[in-house]
Subunit: 678 residues, 2 copies
């Protein structure tokens, strides 16, 4: 086991080649990051203000002017509206806190994306903006290290009093992640030091020692973040605090029940006959006793990711086994074919096993981002390609689909079937938007896409002492330290459109090491060339090539990538009698723009021929697949809804399918992933 | 046109024969009415108290003791929880109002059912209980005629201040309906006089005259009820007040917007870009401009019924045309095959056209009761069998299905597909109960079933001067006054199980008259015997037989009744590729009890043979149909949710189908009406 533990590359070890992912990273750099900065500063016309940077400035002013009060008071009416404080008069803002209680984290996710972007593409101007923003944020930190504008502004007696709902430890986590990333990218440690001081304060309040509180986050995130701090600083107290949070979770009696809960409400805590209260927060049982993915999907993924981190670093087998069970529950019972998870909007949560409705799906972008976090951490523990397969699936489908092709609008919810009039007229589908909006008041998804895409090499490759793991075949130059030598590979691939991967060793120095190349799960046949001189071993979906790598060594893998129809497990009621189409890791869908209205009248012939043709959508050239299908012959207009059965007749038609991630880029229209099979 | 206007029989004109409907009426008499009475008096263990009779007694006490206050105050917190005031300490009730604001109407619906039951089956003991209850209710009436315990107890300044939400005119309407029915049944007019005094008070407050308010009910019901008062008393002022309510509805600016709205909230009023606010209440436009059935389905049916009454009695062609449009919208675009309407639980409302999901259906029992009200009123205006077809469909399927076979439990929601674990675990389907509960806090459906079934002859037959219309072929003795002679028919039928209807004229006196027999829409072939001597005319689905009827005249109709598969309009997305099974007016369904779990794995062969066999469910013998189908061969257990497509294999199986109305009588289990067709 132990030998396969691995760590992500640092971004400086990778330089992306021109092509698919470079384009996406550039989109994030050029479009998303500047737009986000405008959003954080309430400068986007027509968008609801974020108040994020404003809150930091207000908190800084309170500190400067000694106005921080102890006694907590806030606008309860505002709170009731989903953890949000809205101004009474938006034209006349007061010196107070506005927006969601977790608004601070918007800055943190932005700075994290900025950090990755600076690693990939240095930019003095952007770095200056970031440094100034960091100054604003650090000026909002209290002497004792506490840093959360909601309580600094509203009164400190409220802080850490309602961990269940009020997101302080979540915000801390994002701050820490952003701080570590910015430190790695720039070497500047101002924000990291602030995060460490805050972490130290948290460690004074919470911990196993007598007199400290036994609390843990209501929205998980600090667990992962503390591990990153540990890995960045080497200071074990951060790892210990993370493990403490993981270990305390779900113990009974619930710590949360003993909280003064200063706001007098609990949003999601529900007890049922099986005493499975706090399922929403994954705190219904100690984590080692959990075996089903439940509750708020993003929270779940963040917790499981933190658990996997702790399990790996503490070599904790029971925790590792819990991670495996939760993984299996997630991906074998509760995941859409697009790698989306969390099928109900009620609580943005998991539903019961195999309940995966396509048209009411919640399938939050952030939940799939979280699934990718979890997958990579499982991969780090054990190089099993199942984890990478799912990581790739979530990435190419739900996460990419969460952003428009031009990077200017975003989905929070990623349905697999859309009828625009239903979204407009049926309150049960009001969350299913047929077109991406510019931004969201609760702006978790766009920044999460931004930070994931700009740090993608950390998911595409991991390494340990002597092995470089290639999970996603991402094209670019990869370097790796092997003892005192530097290995260097040039990887050429046109993923996700072609299955050919060329790998050239272009390091000046020869190295003795192993390259472990993932054999994708979607590939039924593959071959490799030039690998004869290496020791070869296939294990858990990876091809391990061990030997001496010298300059000019060329190897190549050819993974057969043919469009193929898929069926769902028969327990997925909504997909019975239907098929979906994939090419490699990319899920396809049918849109009204290509196939006319009433997609439900189509059925496809899974044995039929599939024709591939490159075509333009919003200026991006993509492989479009044409499949053989049939359209129901229109019934003669009748005046009654129900008529005696007559054999339905169908007319042959070609159904045009586009990559799912490219849907909803041509205005509002119907879309479906699953089509009835003939 | 005018010649076909007709009126329901009075119950004394009909005496049911032993058999299907007699059994149901007896069930209501023996089970439902006594149980309801216990409920109204909070004597049912385990059931949430109704507080209905208690409120009347409390109000009476306030009046006796001169404690009725002007200044209104109530428990706003309670109100917020869905119009309901719950006691702080259920063990120590105070002298105040409890329950839903519309709780008074529970008595009224009960007394209406009692009245019909007494007509069908005199019962001195029940009549005594009813008389005493009426005394309690009448003691709660104010001197000025006002009678609503919620405001009498909480303070009269609140009365008629929030017509939109607070159901006063709805409660009045039910009181009036109950009063008219009790008067017809017993000749006793105490309650009728109370209702008239209340109506007179309402007429002083609202009306076209200067100085009177231009309001109308937030929940329609008074419209129908005032017409019944007019028909019972002959006093046109009641008809005029009904017409006033109909005419004012939806005029802009909205009367409701000018209300002081003493409670500071509006539950359902929503304005959208098309200024279609108040759709929930069908008050978004003047009724003559409405052409789509929208909003709360029960409210809609009650309004349309009132509109049809007014149109008929005032010979108002524009109003009649609006009724026709709303009828067509309801039954041709928004009705399930079971005659259920209102497909979304959000607002218990209509969704957009052809949006008829089976598994999340709301399909409230009361809405189908309302559809039957509407249908009979349309029939009264024009004898077109389309109306009777729908009336029959709603009756035999949704309404009957709303009550258990033993009359002891009830559905509020009538889905067409149920997976019990979804109801338990998926909040989106929490309203879809897999087993009938004993009663409901908001107890509208059980009493509505009771009053409909016990007055069924008023729907089965209507008459005008010279014609008796037989809509539902209900078996029994029917008498009809023709001039100074009494016609008498003995109708024998085994509807809904056999298509043979024997009609024997058994009046001593010969009469010259017309018998109009409906040719059911589900019947493709029919023949009649013994009708040669009459003038025969087929018009809009009725066979008119005109001539002299003499004792011993025997005629018979044979309506072919074969089990038949049906398909839905292709615009109903949820039913595409599926079929349903009907025998005559009865819709069938497949249950887990007969077919095992995972009904979605079944598909049926619509061309296959159908086998009929009588079988017992809960002691009731019903025709069970066995159809030819196939069950998907279990897939080999796989560890992944999505696998490359392989041709599915199926094994032949017989699928056992039972009448939909008999579902959920054998414990919790899966059920579906629509099955995939091969």
């Amino acid at each position: 086991m132990k030998h396969s533990v691995s760590y992500p590359l640092t971004l400086s070890q990778f330089q992306a080649s021109e092509g698919f992912w470079k384009d996406k990273m550039e989109l994030v750099r050029k479009e998303v990051i500047p737009y986000q900065w405008d959003m954080l500063n309430d400068r986007v016309e027509g968008a609801a203000p974020s108040y994020c940077m404003r809150n930091y400035k207000t908190a800084g002013k309170y500190i400067r002017e000694n106005k921080v009060e102890d006694s907590f008071s806030n606008n309860l009416e505002g709170m009731y509206r989903g953890f949000q404080v809205l101004p009474k008069d938006p034209e006349n803002l007061e010196d107070t806190f506005y927006g969601f209680v977790f608004q601070d984290s918007d800055f943190s996710k932005w700075i994290e994306a900025v950090a990755y972007s600076l690693s990939n593409h240095p930019d003095a101007e952007l770095e200056k903006i970031a440094d100034e923003a960091i100054d604003v944020v650090c000026a909002a930190q209290l002497e004792n290290g506490y840093l959360d504008t909601y309580f600094i502004i509203n009164g400190m007696s409220g802080h850490f009093q309602n961990l269940t709902d009020l997101h302080e430890l979540y915000c801390f986590g994002h701050l820490a992640e952003g701080a570590v990333a910015y430190y790695h990218a720039t070497g500047k440690d101002k924000l990291l030091k602030a995060a460490m001081r805050y972490a130290d304060y948290i460690g004074q309040c919470f911990g196993p020692e007598e007199g400290k509180r036994k609390g843990y986050p209501g929205h998980e995130e600090a667990e992962m973040a503390l591990v990153r701090m540990y890995e960045a600083t080497g200071d074990e107290k951060y790892l210990n605090l993370s493990r403490f949070f993981v270990d305390e979770r779900g113990k009974k009696p619930y710590y949360w029940d003993s909280e003064p809960s200063c706001h007098g409400f609990r949003f999601w805590a529900k007890r049922d006959e099986n005493d499975e209260g706090y399922q929403y927060h994954q705190a219904h049982r100690p984590v080692r006793e959990q075996d089903e993915a439940v509750g708020h999907a993003v929270r779940a993924m963040y917790l499981y990711s933190g658990m996997a981190d702790v399990a790996r670093l503490t070599d904790d087998e029971t925790l590792r086994e819990a991670c495996r069970k939760l993984w299996r529950s997630t991906v074998r019972e509760k995941m859409y074919i697009t790698g989306a998870i969390g099928s109900t909007h009620v609580g943005e949560a998991f539903s019961f096993p195999f309940d995966l409705p396509n048209d009411t799906a919640y399938a939050e972008t952030c939940a799939s981002v979280g699934l990718i976090f979890f997958a990579r951490r499982m991969l780090q523990m054990e190089a099993d390609s199942e984890y990478a397969d799912i990581m790739e699936k979530a990435l190419y489908n739900t996460v990419l689909g969460g952003m428009a092709l031009d990077g200017k609008s975003f989905f929070y919810v990623n349905p697999l079937e859309v009828l625009p009039q239903a979204s407009r007229k049926d309150a049960r589908k009001a969350h299913v938007l047929p077109v991406r909006p510019k931004w969201f008041g609760c702006a978790c998804c766009p920044p999460n896409i931004a930070r994931l895409i700009s740090s993608l090499p950390m998911y595409a490759y991991t390494e340990n002492e002597d092995t470089l793991f290639m999970h996603l075949h991402m094209a670019g130059k990869v370097s790796k330290q092997v003892g005192d030598k530097t290995a260097l590979f040039q990887v050429n691939s046109n993923m996700p459109w072609h299955g050919k991967v060329d790998i050239c060793y272009c390091g000046r120095e020869s190295t003795d090491m192993t390259l472990a190349v993932r054999i994708p799960g979607w590939c039924e046949k593959w071959q490799a060339e030039g690998i004869e001189k290496f020791d070869q071993r296939i294990e858990k979906g990876y091809c391990y090539l061990t030997g001496t790598w010298t300059e000019g060594t060329n190897i190549s893998f050819c993974f057969e990538m043919v469009p193929r129809f898929y069926q769902a497990d028969e327990r997925v009621r909504e997909d019975i009698g239907k098929v979906a189409l994939m090419k490699g890791p990319v899920v396809y869908c049918a849109e009204e723009a290509d196939n006319g209205k009433n997609l439900h009248l189509l059925q496809v012939i899974p044995e039929g021929e599939i024709r591939e043709e490159w075509s333009d959508i919003l200026g991006i050239t993509l492989p479009v697949l044409s499949i053989q299908g049939e359209r129901k012959t229109p019934a003669s207009t009748l005046n009654t809804l129900y008529t005696p059965y007559e054999k339905n007749t169908y007319e042959a038609t070609e159904v045009k399918m586009i990559p799912y991630f490219a849907w909803a880029n041509r205005g509002e229209n119907e879309m479906t992933v699953w089509l009835r099979q003939k």
